[in-house]
Each structure stands twice: as structure tokens, then as C-alpha cells.
């Protein structure tokens, strides 16, 4: 070696005399040459380190000296631009010299001299591997990273993607800004893209292409590869009928490379097909088949949403026939064994059943009612008679039928006639008789004045199936004589005045298990300036996340229910709030556990109380139901009524979480059951939250020795259960409490047989009270007694929200149910946001 070798200590001593050092170096160099040391290798002779060496051995830099000689040293710092950094250091040092004298000047000189040298460690050297080299002699530093990148180039050329990528990461992680790194990165992406294309993995190739596009859109061959990948993907999507997917790929291509030939070719094909649908839709509209026209135009949108002129045609037809798409997770036909009405069944009921009196709103703790059928109802004789005046006309958008006195009176008579299928024991105990004064007026005579009339009449009356539309609905002698046809021809019914055949509301037109389609029983006539929702299509989604995706992508416009944590996540998003409204329902949903009166095991009061004491409601509500420690949309409750309800007794506290009591009562129960509590069966609705909460409760009960298993709600045998997890909304507890505790649709005396006489008498007293305040007091008393008896275990109540797109109008604030007053709703035409304006 001809370079100056020196230990660090020796060098320090020599720094005192620069001249002496220079002389030593010259002498040493001359002696080294004279001794014939091994010459350093030339740069041209150096072989690029192999990938294995680069990956496994310590990094080494190459110093290229005069005459292209190369010294392999340990990495020099700073890097990658050492020489530039040293020059800046020297320049800075020179500035410090001004004003220095004496020892300070001497020190400065020593430090300045040091900057002219590069101190390196030669790994293969002897015991003292540290050397210094004058910077004047260094022509170039080839860093380890540069060597790696050179190797990456070689590997890319050889098609070794994985090794190249691994080497690239070795540089990228410590030095993300290393010169030349981007170029290699892009090269590797292109290599990856090519290889995926060759493997026919077009979708993943498209992902790689997208990444490369974001970095360098004009990268050679990228446009061709992306076009090819999308062409294959679109072809595949079209073959599988997934046009939405095909559109997605095409729009991506169009967004990346406008007027790409692949896009143009497919767009022309789709546009041609969609144009046919538009023509058919217009023809259907001209023929008055508005539902078909709406279906065809929706199909055109599905085929090619970018069709020129589609938006105006779509707007025209979907405004005339408004079809509301609703996203749900469960359908009304899903369950067999779950006795109470499910969310889906309640939705269907809200669409298909129009009660004489409907819940209008909650004001304070009072429920207010509305009716679509009566102009007025006047209490006479201190309420012992009520005279009803029926409405004679309806607006074109209203979906209820026109009823006559005879129809309503007959319905009442059916309900108070023992033995009739509709017999309602409680109603019969109130109503003594009905008299019809005219086609639009009738009077109900009461044996006892009810505390409140409206909740007793919350049931639907269906107009007779075949009426001749002559006004009073009475049987016309001519029709009896077989002249019905002539009569109809002479006097066709006026849809706004005369009774129409049908039930009103919406009727189920199609139910496939995946969708349920409801259509208006009385369509709106032609010639109106404003039309309303004519059809509701409920679409089933496998879970709530997919449902939200469908909502955001425009598949559905209304979601009647979402778990709270998903709702909160959406509600915090500005983009979501820009596109959607969300309304809180007027009443929260109450969760509770009911006990089967037929089950001998849970007739044991101690066992019921043990189950109640063992539940940590706070924890389950916050962690499982809401997933919110603050429990903003949920509360622990003490009864089956919502928190604001008048029926809540102030002396009743929610069941405390008390494992000591639970354990004690569990032991007491076991003693009465021959020291073994049988495994209890719990029926739980299929909802995600209810299932999870039930699982948590079962875990807790196991701790006190009570084993409970969940019965599948789809089981065919509905009788085998001990505990029922139920979600309810008791809007009018004075009337609803009895059917609720007996788990029957109406209040029947026989259904209270399993209760002790004193409790039975309390229910009867409530039913017989005419004074509202007394009835409220009695309901509160029952709340206390039923809770103490642990007839049910109240859990919590949850605020729920309905979410709908802003093109939907008329949804009331704080709706009573998800289809509250749906006959007033209107929809503007909607195309997803990515469509051209």
C-alpha cells in the first residue's frame, strides 16, 4: 500500500508539525514504492458485489483515487454527498479564522488541516485499520447504496423482481431521498405490472398501474398496459353481468387517460344499449305505464350512466314514478320462531296497515295521535257516546281508503263479537254498541268511558273488497239483481271521494328474500304537478358495513337503522352530512328480557331476580351495544317504558349490579330445583347487537351457576324458550302494558292466568279506569309491582336514527317509524355523484 498509514494517536502528535507530517508521508510513500506493495485495484477491474453480498455483508464504499485506483472502506459520512459537505465545512472554517491569535490560531490551524483529509477505516487492514487520505487524491466516492442500485438495475433487467425489491428497500428505508431511487422504484413497478399482466392478474395489475400512474403518468408502456388490464376486467364484468364494476374500471381509465380507445369502444357499446332502454322507457311513459318507464330508465342508468341526455329523461320519469330504495339487513320473512314483531315486520306493518288512529308525535311525556279517516269525533253524554264524522274526500297523494260508516261499524262489531276472529275482549268490555246515523256518521256507545279513546282504536279498517262506489256503501238492489256491470259503467268510482276496492297504504308486490317491493295500493292519478313516493324497494345486505357502502354508492337512499357506532362514525363525516340527513326517532327502542310464562323454571321468582342482579348493564351497554363509553345514545332503564314516559314510577330504580345477591338467589333457586338449575333457553332476535349483548349476559350468568343457551331464532319450534330478548316501543303504556306482559296481541283475561290474583286485579283496575290521572298512577304502581316481581328485566334504551339522502323530502322530524307519513314523501331524481352533471 502506498497510502499513508497512521494510528490515530500518532497522527495527533504529528499534527503539531504540519511540515513534519508532510515529510513523513512523502518518505513513507517513497519507501513503500521501493518495497513493492500490492497495488490497489483499478475501477475497471472491480466487480459489482452480488445481491447476496449486498444483502448479507456489511456495507462498503468504494473510494476512487488518482489513477482510478479503488479502496474499499467502511461507509463514509455524511452521505451521499460527502465531498460537497466537506467543502462547505472548509468554507465555514475559513470564516472562523478572523481575529484569532496565539493558541487559538494554532488550534484553528490544526482543525483546518484536518479538513483536508478523509479519515477512513479499511476493513481488511491490520490491527490499526484507521487511515487518512488527502482529499486532493480522492476522485470519487462510490457509495454502497449506489452499488445496490446498480445491482437493482441488473436484477430488473434480469426480471428478478423480489430480490430487486428487497435491495431497493435496503436503500429506501434509511435513505428515502437517495438519488436515483425513484427511477428504480418505477422500474420495479413496471416490472411488477408486466409480470401480473402475464399472469392474467388484471385487477392487481391495475392496482400497480395506478400506483405507477400516480408517480409518473407518462411512464413508458403504462398507458398500454393499463388499457389492456381494464379491457380484460371490463369484459369479465360484463360477462358476469356486473355492469357497475365494468363502469368503475372504465371510469378509472377515462379519468387517467381521456379518450383512451378501450374506453371509447366500450362506452359506445353501452351507450347504444342504454339508448334502447331510454326509448322503451319513453314509450312506456307515453302508454301510461309509469312504473315500467321508471324501471326501464333505471335500467338505462345501470347500463350506461354517461349516456347523453339520460339525466333529463331519468329525472322526468323517476319524478313521475318515485321509487325509494331502502337498505336493510333483515326481511320480514326471515324468522319463524321469534314471537314478537321484528324490525322488518314493523316496517312492513308501517307500510301496509293504516290504523284509524296513528301515533303522531311525542310531546313531553304525552303521545299525540292523528287520524286519516275522521273529520271530528265528539264525546257526548260525558264521554259515554262518541260521535264520529268520517272524511268524505282524500287528497290524491294520500294512500288511505275512503271509508263509510257501515264499514267502520261492522269492523267494530266484529271486534266486540265473541267468537269472531277479530274479537278483542278489552274493546268489547268498553264498547256496548255502534249505531250508524248516516254514511259518514256513526256513534259508538261505551259501557265505560276509557281513559283515552285513541289508543283503543289503533287498528286498521279495510274497505270492502267489492263496492260499487255509490257513496254510502249500502247494498244496492240493482246490484243484487245482477246489474252490477251496468252500474259500474254508469257511475265509475271517483278515487278521491268514493270507496275504492283495496286496503290502501302499500301492498307487497314482490318478495324474493333479497328484495321486498311495496307499491301504493291507490296510485296517484295522471295530471298532478307533484308526485310522491309510489314504490318502496327494500334491499337486503349481508351486514351493516356493506349496507353503508351501498348507501354511499347510491344503491339505496334510505337506511332505517344502523348500529350506533356506525351511525356515529358517519355522522362525524362532513362528506356524509353534505349528502344525507339523519333524523332521530321520536321514541327510543327499549331492550329487555321477558320470561316465558309457560316455563316452569323461570316461574321461580328467586331465579328471575338472580338473573336480574347478575347483569352489569352499564358495561354491556357501553361496550357492546353502543361501543361508546359516554353512552350518548343510550341509557339504563328501570321499566319497559321509554325514560320520559308517564308510566315510570319514581320509586323504581334500575336493577343494581349485585353479584352477592345474584349468587345468593341463585343458590336459593337451586335448592328449590333439587340443587340443579336446568339449562335455560334464550330466544334472541337476529340483530347483531342483540346477539352480542345476549352472549355477554350469558357469560355473566355462568358466573353465578346459571347456564343459558341461545335458541336460534330461525328454529321451527317456537315454544321451547325460557327467556326472550325483546326490543319494544310501548307508546301508550296504559293500553300496551297488558298485552306486553302477556305477550299477546290483545288484552285477554285468560292470558293473565299465570299471575297471582292480586296482580291480575291491578291490571283489571287499570283497564277500568276512566280518569287519566288515576290510570297514570295505576300504571306507575304496576311498574313498581312488576319490577319487584321481576316479570321482566329492563336492560337499556337506545336512541336510533333513520338516514336518508337529501333528495328525499317530506320525512318528518323525529319520525315515529321509518315510514312515518310516507305518502307525503317526495323524491328528486338522483344519479350518483360521479355522474356527469
Amino acid at each position: 500500500m502506498f497510502i499513508v498509514m497512521s494510528s490515530t494517536g500518532f497522527m495527533r502528535r504529528l499534527r503539531r508539525s504540519r511540515w513534519l507530517v508532510a515529510l513523513a508521508v512523502a518518505l513513507y510513500a517513497a519507501s513503500s514504492r521501493a518495497q513493492g506493495d500490492t497495488p490497489l485495484p483499478k475501477l475497471e477491474e472491480m466487480a459489482l458485489p452480488t445481491p447476496a453480498r449486498l444483502l448479507t455483508e456489511p456495507p462498503r464504499d468504494w473510494l476512487v483515487l488518482e489513477e482510478n485506483e479503488v479502496v474499499i472502506v467502511e461507509p463514509v459520512f455524511p452521505r451521499p454527498q460527502f465531498m460537497e459537505a466537506r467543502q462547505q465545512e472548509i468554507a465555514s472554517k475559513e470564516l472562523d479564522r478572523v481575529g484569532l491569535v496565539g493558541a487559538a490560531l494554532e488550534t484553528w490551524r490544526e482543525e483546518r488541516d484536518d479538513l483536508d483529509y478523509l479519515y477512513v477505516i479499511v476493513p481488511d487492514g491490520d490491527a490499526n485499520p484507521e487511515y487518512r487520505i488527502s482529499l486532493d487524491r480522492v476522485l470519487e466516492i462510490i457509495y454502497h447504496e449506489d452499488l445496490v442500485l446498480q445491482q437493482v438495475d441488473a436484477l430488473v433487467a434480469a426480471g428478478d423482481l423480489n430480490t430487486a425489491l428487497e435491495l431497493l428497500l435496503r436503500v429506501e428505508q434509511p435513505f428515502p431521498e437517495w438519488p436515483g431511487l425513484d427511477t428504480r422504484h418505477n422500474a420495479i413497478l413496471m416490472l411488477d405490472l408486466r409480470q401480473r399482466m402475464e399472469a392474467a392478474e388484471y385487477e392487481s395489475a391495475l392496482v400497480v398501474a395506478d400506483e405507477l400512474f400516480r408517480i409518473q403518468p407518462d411512464y413508458p408502456e403504462l398507458i398500454d398496459n393499463m388499457g389492456l388490464a381494464i379491457e380484460r376486467l371490463v369484459t369479465s364484468a360484463v360477462e358476469s353481468g356486473d355492469l357497475k364494476q365494468a363502469h368503475y374500471f372504465l371510469f378509472r381509465l377515462d379519468s387517467a387517460y381521456p379518450e383512451h380507445p378501450v374506453y371509447e369502444r366500450f362506452a359506445a357499446q353501452f351507450a347504444n344499449s342504454a339508448q334502447g332502454q331510454v326509448a322503451a322507457a319513453n314509450a312506456a311513459r307515453a302508454a301510461g305505464r309509469h312504473d315500467e318507464a321508471a324501471t326501464l330508465i333505471e335500467e338505462a342508468v345501470r347500463i350506461w350512466p354517461r349516456l347523453d341526455g339520460l339525466q333529463s329523461a331519468h329525472s322526468l320519469l323517476t319524478t313521475r314514478y318515485q321509487r325509494l330504495h331502502v337498505g336493510v339487513v333483515g326481511m320480514s320473512s326471515d324468522l319463524d320462531a321469534y314471537p314478537p314483531p321484528t324490525r322488518a315486520e314493523l316496517r312492513e306493518q308501517a307500510l301496509t296497515e293504516i290504523s284509524l288512529f296513528e301515533t303522531d308525535r311525542l310531546d313531553g311525556n304525552t303521545i299525540f295521535y292523528r287520524t286519516r279517516f275522521f273529520d271530528e269525533w265528539i264525546p257526548l253524554d260525558l264521554g259515554r257516546r262518541v260521535q264520529f264524522q268520517l272524511r268524505q274526500v282524500r287528497q290524491p297523494w294520500e294512500f288511505q281508503p275512503i271509508l263509510d260508516s257501515r264499514t267502520v261499524a261492522q269492523e267494530i262489531i266484529d271486534r266486540i263479537t265473541p267468537g269472531h276472529a277479530k274479537y278483542d275482549e278489552r274493546l268489547a268490555s268498553y264498547i256496548e254498541g255502534v249505531s250508524v246515523e248516516s254514511p259518514i256518521q256513526f256513534t259508538v256507545r261505551f259501557r265505560r268511558v276509557p281513559a283515552r279513546l285513541e289508543p283503543l282504536l289503533r287498528w286498521a279498517v279495510h274497505a270492502p273488497e267489492a263496492t260499487t262506489g255509490i257513496g254510502d256503501g249500502s247494498t244496492d238492489p240493482a246490484s243484487e239483481a245482477g246489474e252490477t256491470t251496468e252500474l259500474v259503467e254508469l257511475a265509475p268510482p271517483n278515487p278521491l271521494v268514493d270507496p275504492l276496492p283495496g286496503r290502501g297504504g302499500f301492498v307487497v308486490a314482490e318478495a324474493t328474500g333479497e328484495i321486498t317491493r311495496f307499491v301504493r295500493d291507490f296510485p296517484e292519478p295522471d295530471g298532478l304537478r307533484q308526485y310522491h313516493v309510489a314504490e318502496v324497494v327494500e334491499h337486503r345486505y349481508p351486514d351493516y358495513e356493506r349496507l353503508v357502502q351501498g348507501l354511499l354508492e347510491g344503491e339505496v337512499s334510505l337506511v332505517p337503522y344502523l348500529p350506533d357506532w356506525i351511525y356515529r362514525r358517519l355522522a362525524e363525516s362532513d362528506a356524509f352530512n353534505t349528502a344525507f340527513f339523519h333524523e332521530q326517532y321520536a321514541l327510543p327502542t327499549t331492550h329487555l328480557l321477558m320470561f316465558n310464562p309457560q316455563s316452569k323454571t323461570v316461574r321461580l321468582r328467586e331465579l328471575r331476580r338472580a338473573l336480574a342482579y347478575a347483569l352489569d348493564r352499564q358495561k354491556i351497554l357501553s361496550q357492546t351495544v353502543l361501543r361508546d363509553e359516554n353512552m350518548v345514545h343510550g341509557r339504563i332503564i328501570s321499566g319497559p317504558f321509554f325514560t320520559r314516559s308517564y308510566a315510570n314510577s319514581v320509586v323504581v330504580e334500575p336493577w343494581p349490579y349485585d353479584m352477592s345477591s345474584a349468587l345468593a338467589l341463585s343458590f336459593a333457586s337451586a335448592r328449590q330445583l333439587n340443587d340443579e338449575i336446568p339449562v335455560l333457553k334464550m330466544l334472541t332476535p337476529p340483530g347483531l347487537i342483540e346477539q352480542a349483548a345476549a352472549a355477554e349476559m350469558i357469560k355473566t350468568w355462568q358466573l353465578i351457576g346459571i347456564n343459558v343457551e341461545i335458541v336460534e331464532p330461525t328454529a321451527t319450534d317456537a315454544t321451547e324458550w325460557d327467556i326472550l330478548y325483546q326490543t319494544v316501543q310501548l307508546t301508550e303504556p296504559i293500553v300496551d302494558l297488558w298485552p306486553f306482559v302477556s305477550q299477546q296481541p290483545t288484552a285477554e283475561l285468560a292470558d293473565l292466568d299465570h299471575f297471582p290474583d292480586w296482580l291480575k286485579r291491578e291490571f283489571i283496575s287499570l283497564d277500568r279506569m276512566s280518569d287519566w290521572n288515576l290510570a297514570v298512577g295505576q300504571t306507575q304502581s304496576l311498574h313498581r309491582q312488576l319490577t319487584s316481581e321481576a316479570v321482566f328485566i329492563p336492560l337499556w334504551e337506545v336512541d336510533e336514527f333513520t338516514i336518508y339522502r337529501k333528495n328525499l323530502d317530506g320525512v318528518p322530524s323525529e319520525p315515529v317509524n321509518c315510514y312515518d307519513r310516507i305518502d307525503r314523501w317526495t323524491m328528486d331524481a338522483f344519479l350518483p355523484a360521479w355522474q356527469p352533471e
Binding site: R605, S660, L752, R768
Partner: protein
Amino acid sequence: MRGPRQLSRLQQIVPRGTASRAALICLGVLYVMSVRADDPAAPTTPAAATGDAAADSPTNEPGQDAATAEGAPVTTEQPAPAAPTIQQPQVPAELRPYRVLVSVGFASDPAFDARFRQMTLQRLQEQVAGQLGAMWNADYEISPHLGAAGEEVLEEKSVLLSGIYGESGYDKVFWLTVSSRGGRYSVSGIEWDGTIKQPGPVLSQETRDSRRIDETLMATMLDLFRPVAIVNEVAPRKIVLTTRAGEFLPPVELGTQFRVGDYLAMSIRYLDRKRVLQRIQEVPWTYLRVDSIDRARMEMTAVSAFRQPIPEPGRRIEIAGLLLKVVHDETVLTLNARGTPPEPLIASPVDVMDRYPTMEDAVEDRIRLVSDRLGSVAIPAFPDSPMRYLMIHSGDQVLAKVPIIPGVTERLQLEVPNDAPRLAVEGELFLLQGQLIDLVARGAVLMARATSSAKAGRWEEVDGFTTELDQLPILEDVLEEIDGYEAQGSFEAQALNDNVQQARIRRMCQDLSDLATRHLAPERRTKFDEEIRDLRAASGAATTMN
């Protein structure tokens, strides 16, 4: 509707030919003759009774005939029978025949012309005379009150009977109507009894043959006829009655007025010093069962909800019994709790039995019914063995025990004590009992856990459990609550003047107090405290307990 009752055993009873009895019969016959002679309204002959005037009328058009016939009595043109026989000689009841008015109305039907009506009435008269002989002293008329009345109209008009015939002196009045529909002839009727001044049930029969209408009328009358008996003697174990007209045996084989096993309903007639009727009082929920019959003399046993339901008859008290007939399929019994106004007793269990339960016989074969929302319960009739016994329950108490013959009347009402205060206390005590179980069980678990922790030397846990124990209600708290319920219940029962209920409330409260005292005795806590103290001392820990 039940068929005609056959008086088949009438002739099988051999008259016991005593001289006195023969003399009585003679006296009775003479009496009847004298009454008829004195009574200007009494028909002299059947022909006179039916009257030929209408039939012989020149204007014998069918419609006119009907109107004429309906408007005028056919017996005579005399006014209605004279006032009761206050001044008449006192003839024994068994020798006094029934004074009967048979009033028949025909529908406005061409088939029922005047001739037909007269013929029918005449045949009916013959049937009565032939079958009942001297037992009935009957008048007949084409009804001025009835048109084409059916069952419902008769029900409605039955309230008029006492007003029309209350002072007429008739013992029995029969309103009968004849109508036709769809080729059938329907006969409906109602009987009014002059002894108790009350109508009986409305019954109907049908025939397809117009020639058998008179027979149907006769059969209907026999079904409607409720024989009367008068109480002579009330002994502790037997009651002796005399059958009205019991010594007049019908000439044909039809049967007697009463049979062994029959039941009678009782009414008390209060008279003034001049033996003028002042008022009539029914004896509720009381029936006399015929044990033996000796011509007109009957011995009976009382079946009643009361201990001494029938007083001794006296000069100013007459006690009459009428035969009860099961004519309906069921009787709807409405239960009311006493109060102002009475409240229907809803959802109360009602046991229907053929005997009262005893210590030896719990009557397992009872029928359990429950009253509906109107407080009503439909009790089915048992024609073969009509007497039934009811037990009305409220909670675990029996509110009432009454005998009943279901099927005699369509509806009955029973007023029972208002049990609401006791039931309310029962409910509160039931809830308190549940809390007591919680309390005892929780206390036991806390003591066990504290003891276990003490043995393990975990004294912080012991202190925690002890604090929890200190916070539990103690015996005095529970007893105070029970006293509160007792005071409230007793006060309400006192307001109802119901001492029995008060006693029951006291007993219930006492039972629960005893239970609480047994399970929440302070000795348990004392013993626990001592055990903990000993354990603490043994472990050398500082004592923190008092």
C-alpha cells in the same frame, strides 16, 4: 227449550181413603162451586167461555175476525175478574184450585181466522179440563194484549203482567201466542204467578200441524206451569209444605205437581193485620228439595247460602214455594263486589261442584270457571241433577259459597264482599316477601364471604362485607313496613264494615311478621359478629368491630 213435563205418576198415587180427606175433597168441590157462583167473571160453560159471537159475526172476514178476536175477551163481556178473595172463607190451600187465566194471541195470519181461533181455544179448554180437572179453575180469552208476539215480545211485555193482573185475583195467568212461519206453527208463552207476583220464563214449542196447535198450547202451558206450595212448618231439619190444590188429582195420567227431588224457590209474603198483602220478598240463594210427598203434604230440606233462610210462618207471614224448572242451557251469573256503585268481579275463579268440599272429600271433579270482564260466568245446566254449589274465590280466599240451580233463569246476580283491600295487602306482602328472601339470602352470602375472608386473614374484605351487612334493612324495618300495610288495609276494610276481611288482613300480616322475625332474628348477626371477633383476635389483628 224443554219438552212438556209428564205428570205420569198422578194416578199411581193411591188416595188414602180417610174420612177426613174425603170430607175435605167434598168441601173443596163445594168451595169451587160457590166461588164460581159468586164470580161474575167465571165462565159457566166452555161454550160461553169461548164465545160464539165473533164466530157468528156476519162480517166474518179473516182479517176483521182477527182484529175483533184480539180486541175482546172471549169469555164474557164482563170486565176483568174482581178483586182478590180477601173476604172469602179460609179454605185450606190443598183444596183451593188454581184460579187461572189463559190468554191467547194469534198472529195476523189468514190461517188464523176467527173460527180457527175459537176452535183452538175451545179445544184447549177441553184439554185443560180433561187433563187437569178441578185443579185449575180457568178462564180463557183471546188476548187483548198480544198480537203476533213471539218470544222476544213476550219477554218485553212480561213487565206489564203484574200491573195488569196484580189485583185480578188470578193465581196463574198464561199469555200464549200462536204464529206461523215457513210451514211451522210456533207457540210461545209466559206464566205469571199471582202468589209471588212474578212472571216465569218465556218458552216456545213448534208443530207442523195446525190441528195440533191446541195440544201444543196445552203442552206449553204445562211446561210453563209452576206449581205452588205453602210452608206450614219449619223445623230444624225438615220443612213441611202443602201443595196448592194438591188434593185435586188430575183425571188423566199426567203426573203430580211435584216429585221427590224437585227444587222450589221460596218467597215470603208479608201481610197486614187484615191479611192484605204488603210486600213479597224472595229468599235468595235458597232452595227447598222435596224429600217426600204424601198427597198434598210434602217434607223438604232447605239448601241455602244462609244458616236460617226461612222464618217460621205466622199469621202475617206466608211463605210460598214455586217449582223450579230447568228451561235454559245455562245461567249467566254476574258477580258484583259490594260498593257504590257495585263493581263487577272480574277474573274471579268460580268452582262449580255437585257438593261442597269437606275434609274427606276435596271434590276433585269440580269445574273451574273464571268471570269475564263484565263479572259474568256462564254456568251450564245439569238437568238430571240440577243442584250445584258455587265457590267464588279471590286470591287464596273464598269470597262466597252459594247453591244454585243453573238453567232456571237466564241471568242471575250475586253480590259478594269487596275484597279489594285484602287483595291489595296480599299483593304488597307478596312483594315484601320477595324482598325478604333477597335480604335473607344476601345477608347469608355476605356473612359466609366475610367469614371465609376472615379465616384467610383478608381483613379489608371482611370490613367491606361487614359494612355491606350494616347497610341491609333490619327486622324492625321490615316489621314497620308490614304494620303500614296492615293499617292501610284494615282502615279500608273497616270502611266497608267488613270484619272478616279485617281479620284476614291481620292474619296475613302476622304470618309474614312471624316469617321475618324467624329469618331476620338479631341473634344471627350477634353470633356472626362474635365469630369474626374471635377470628380477628386469633389472628392478632386489631379489632375494629364494635
